[in-house]
Symmetry: C2
Subunit: 624 residues, 2 copies
């Protein structure tokens, strides 16, 4: 489990997640992706951890290999994220050879731990005296956080506590160094906060919670320089605009949300909600992508959402998913899950190729065909991050409270959920995300009184729900959880029908670049126009009138199976010499020409021949 | 004179500028601006140099005042630029009280010079031992360059050599420190290169040229870290893409162009032209503005030209003007003067308010009304820079070679030009830039054989030229100099007619943000739509069909007298809750509504009530 907020122990959490072990995927969308993750992504990433020296760095510290430290100072974290991803896969389905491989890696890590508990292959050996001397830039606490998360994941998945022992010894070292009475510390790259709180949840050792709180409370005091980039310009509780390095800001928010669930500190909760409102209403791409700026990998100003120059780092989308999950667990509010779903199917999923072994770090919303996925990066935070996110995915499908079962994500699958010490089996039959009909059948241990909370996605207008064949007469509002409170028995069947017309989205007119443009969305999926599907014109030139009628078609052969959108638009072909930047508009009586266009899911772009792509198409007002 | 390239001394220069003293403005556009500069801008900037501690810093070093250094490390340069601006004004028209004020400031500077010639009020006194220890960041050579330029300007304008003596002593110190056999030096912020070469031209002391060459040759060797930001990532002669901090890049190009004119080094010239092509064809705003990015005040990628987030620093436009001037003097090619004119009337002139005392540092091409000119900045490079540029303006109007008089800029004015030791008076009668007819009358000292080169602006289609009433049958090509080679006598009259229809410009389709948009231009002036002239709709919503007919009107009462553009377009009014970023496109049968719009010159925006502004308006293809 990515996080375990037990409402009986975390006093300010609203919900407890249902562990991923409880869910068995049977669908055509996620199951093949998780199999690819197991068979291609995880093995190929292991090879890269080896070939790029990331594992060598551990062996070197253990005295088993000679040479200089290789790569960037935070490269240990890639190994930890890989262990976490593999652990989630093991939780989903045990696999001896993967378990043995993980064990081998854990051995390498354990042997690189210093006697005092410290682990970081850059700062061991010859740099030992530089430990903790530059918290702002050197990522020691960041790496520690990933180590702790990996250790917890492995322990929860397999009961193997070897890495957890390493992690707790390191956490104890951190507590000793930065805990009450220790040095003033602020992690330059947040991450360890949420990890320490999860370790507190796992171990019950409150000192981990305390030091996480100290790390959050120490921000904004200038200890690491006071920059917006590091989200150190203000105390956390005073923040209202989301700024700075996007992944740092969002990981910090994860930690603060975790802290809120443990402490109930409303100043934290209010700050988190101010940041959320600002992010969602001013700084989020239509794909859920975050962080507009290449420079500083940072959030931009309000409404600064360039398409071609979008940064929209895959890790930032993952971090947003993680943060929204915590906000949801704290509150039970559907709006957070709406952002999770949007982000998952679009900004996150675009980060990995269909073949499972190439990645986007940066995710533009328009491109000329030059931006391509890579097998790896020197700074390779994204590949193992997307691996761990997808590997843990079934763990986000359900949540429970004392008397409720919350169904967050729809997917053909079976789940075994424990509620009030009795078991409930939930079977989902659906073609989601391509089809919006979901049939949910319950198998209960006799008759059981509880509440089922069904997520009605924010994008779904006109949803209907029936129970055992009878339409529910209730007011079904998008962006809420529909509550069904009754005595359940085996065979009870809920049918949800979420209409999935193609929606034409327009953007807030403060976003200059998107004025006069529309984006297409169907269900949770954002579409784009890619050159390879649209020969004969440049997709950047495409104009789709507001009233144009759009059709959809499921194409099992295309891009591992996608619903495409088709329609008719027009183009005025650009005739341009590459050399000039500005020309006079000339009319030689040309008329726009009609063209048939095809749109594909944004997540699937850049898996074929390179060429121009855009999410936003030009439009003209109705009736012109 | 801003620079003096004497073709008889600078062997690789094509042209020698005609000094600004030779030109008397009599027009309604520039003359009132230069008077405002003298009566408002220069006195108010002097007050600010005083009140912000910039002059205090000199007095402090001279032992006449006590306290800490005030402001930013490069604040001396603002004082020097002010002296340079004032000197140009003195050259244009002597004025005892201004001369005395300049003399007072020069006294302050002279008294702050160390015994060894060094001048920099930050690094004197308590920081003396830190001199020259951080060439990358600390702007010592940058300030030195501005001191040298100010000194030359004052000397040339008035014969007062006090500051020139200070500057040459400092230059000698720089030669001793960084010249042949000295330390390896690279100016983090280029500027001193062009100043030293000009000092060489003024004094004939070749060591200044040598050290300027060393500074340029030392780049790209990693001496100051090798960043693109500092244009230190490659040797200058290998550059082909213009990158990094825009002002630094462009000042460096000025120095390299000066060096080319002295040395004829074709590798420099070829690199300069590669950079120019890249800049003009990939990275220049339609206003001539440069440097797309706030972060690093830097050039972006090719075609990265955001409108709202444009940086387009006023100083970068000024630097481009200066660089293009040097490229023109080196080559006699009209394309460089086209960029100068574009930049002057748009990107530069927008940098100062109509009242002469408020400034833009950043020049967006679209705004919501929040961006306003300021009376000063903590980093106040732009205000005195625009002052010195405008004060020196008449010095760019003409150039000569052995047997040619080049007329670069059109403006109601009289000039006395010396050619082959004989005098030629040139009288221009014109309503430029609002009208494209120019009557040029020559007064010669008897009959004189020489060539008149008339600039035919790149924007002028259908230009015609007559001589003494007879139409010239020659092929008149925009973007060239038309050559008239004859025996001239007093009363000879050239009439140039440059048609000034409103031109609708479209942008290279690689600039995503400008797709489906047009900008209006008339003569050299770029227009914009500002809310205050367009009540009843939001200018960001305005759609101007490609075939719409546009009218112009001279409005003497408006914005100190401007030609406005009027027409009819339409809008679909945005209805939007500020809170949401994406909505569904809804059709309730609304039709676009017709609106009358007014466009004003971009340079004049933000002089009235705040509100939305845009240079680019949406359009729809012809015939839709």
């Amino acid at each position: 489990m990515t996080i375990v907020v037990d409402t009986s122990k975390s006093p300010h959490a609203r919900l407890t997640p249902v562990s991923l072990e409880a869910v068995r995927l049977q669908d055509k969308f996620w199951l093949p992706r998780l199999e690819k993750l197991r068979n291609i992504t995880i093995p190929s990433q292991y090879e890269l951890l080896e070939s790029t020296g990331r594992l060598f760095n551990f062996r070197r510290v253990a005295g088993k290999a000679r040479g200089d430290f290789k790569g960037l100072v935070f490269n240990d974290s890639d190994v930890y994220k890989w262990v976490e991803a593999a652990s989630f896969l093991l939780a989903g389905g045990f696999d001896k050879s993967l378990y043995d491989l993980v064990g081998k890696v854990v051995d390498e890590i354990a042997l690189a731990q210093d006697e005092d508990g410290y682990v970081n292959t850059f700062f061991s050996l010859e740099r030992k005296n530089q430990r903790w001397t530059n918290l702002r830039d050197m990522h020691e606490l960041y790496c520690a956080g990933h180590l702790i998360q990996a250790a917890i994941a492995l322990f929860r998945a397999t009961g193997n506590s070897r890495l957890l022992e390493v992690a707790t010894r390191f956490a104890d070292h951190i507590v000793k160094t930065f805990g009450p009475g220790g040095r003033l510390g602020v992690p330059g790259h947040p991450e360890v906060e949420m990890a320490l709180i999860e370790l507190y949840r796992e171990t019950g050792n409150k000192s981990y919670l305390d030091v996480a709180k100290i790390f959050i409370d120490n921000r904004g005091k200038g200890i690491i320089g006071g920059s917006q980039y590091h989200i150190d310009h203000k105390p956390f509780r005073e923040l209202s605009e989301i700024v700075g390095h996007a992944v740092r800001a969002l990981y910090l928010n994860c930690g603060a949300a975790d802290l809120y669930m443990e402490t109930g500190d409303l100043e934290l909760w209010n700050a988190l909600n101010r940041l959320w409102d600002n992010m969602v209403n001013r700084k989020m791409y239509v794909t859920g992508g975050l962080g507009s700026r290449h420079d500083g990998e940072a959030f931009g100003f309000d409404y600064e959402l360039p398409n071609v120059q979008a940064y929209s780092e895959t890790c930032a989308a993952i971090a947003s998913f993680m943060w929204n999950w915590r906000m949801f667990l704290a509150s039970g509010e559907a709006k957070y899950v709406d952002i999770m779903e949007l982000t998952l199917y679009n900004a996150i999923l675009a980060g990995i190729s269909l073949n499972g072994k190439e990645y986007f770090y940066v995710n533009p919303l328009a491109d000329r065909g030059k931006h391509r996925r890579q097998a790896w990066f020197e700074c390779a935070c994204c590949p193992p991050n997307i691996a761990r996110l997808l590997a843990g995915l079934p763990g986000y499908f359900y949540a429970v409270s004392k008397n409720e079962v919350w169904i967050n994500f729809y997917c053909e699958s079976t789940a075994e959920i424990e509620l009030k010490n009795r078991s409930i089996k939930i079977i989902q039959r659906t073609g989601y995300p391509w089809e919006g009909d979901v049939t949910i059948t319950l198998h209960t241990d006799g008759e059981q009184d509880f509440i089922v909370k069904l997520r009605i996605p924010g994008w779904s207008n006109g949803a209907s729900v029936s129970l055992n064949g009878a339409e529910l007469e209730t007011d079904i509002r998008p962006g809420t959880y529909l509550e069904i409170n009754r005595t359940w028995k085996t065979g009870d069947t809920i049918k949800i029908s979420l209409p999935m017309p193609v929606r034409k989205l327009v953007c807030n007119p403060n976003v200059y670049e998107n004025l006069g443009r529309i984006a297409l969305m169907r269900g949770p999926i954002v579409y784009c126009f890619e050159a390879v599907d649209n020969p004969g014109f440049d997709v950047w030139d495409l104009i789709i009138p507001g009233e144009s009628i759009l059709e959809t078609e499921y194409r099992p052969d295309l891009l591992d199976g996608v619903v495409i959108i088709k329609g008719t638009g027009y183009v005025m072909d650009s005739k341009w010499s590459e050399e000039s930047l500005y020309n006079e508009l000339e009319s030689k009586g040309e008329k726009p020409r009609k063209v048939d266009f095809t749109a594909i899911p944004y997540y699937a772009w850049c898996n074929r021949k390179p060429g121009p792509m855009t999410v936003w198409a030009r439009t003209v007002p109705f009736g012109t």
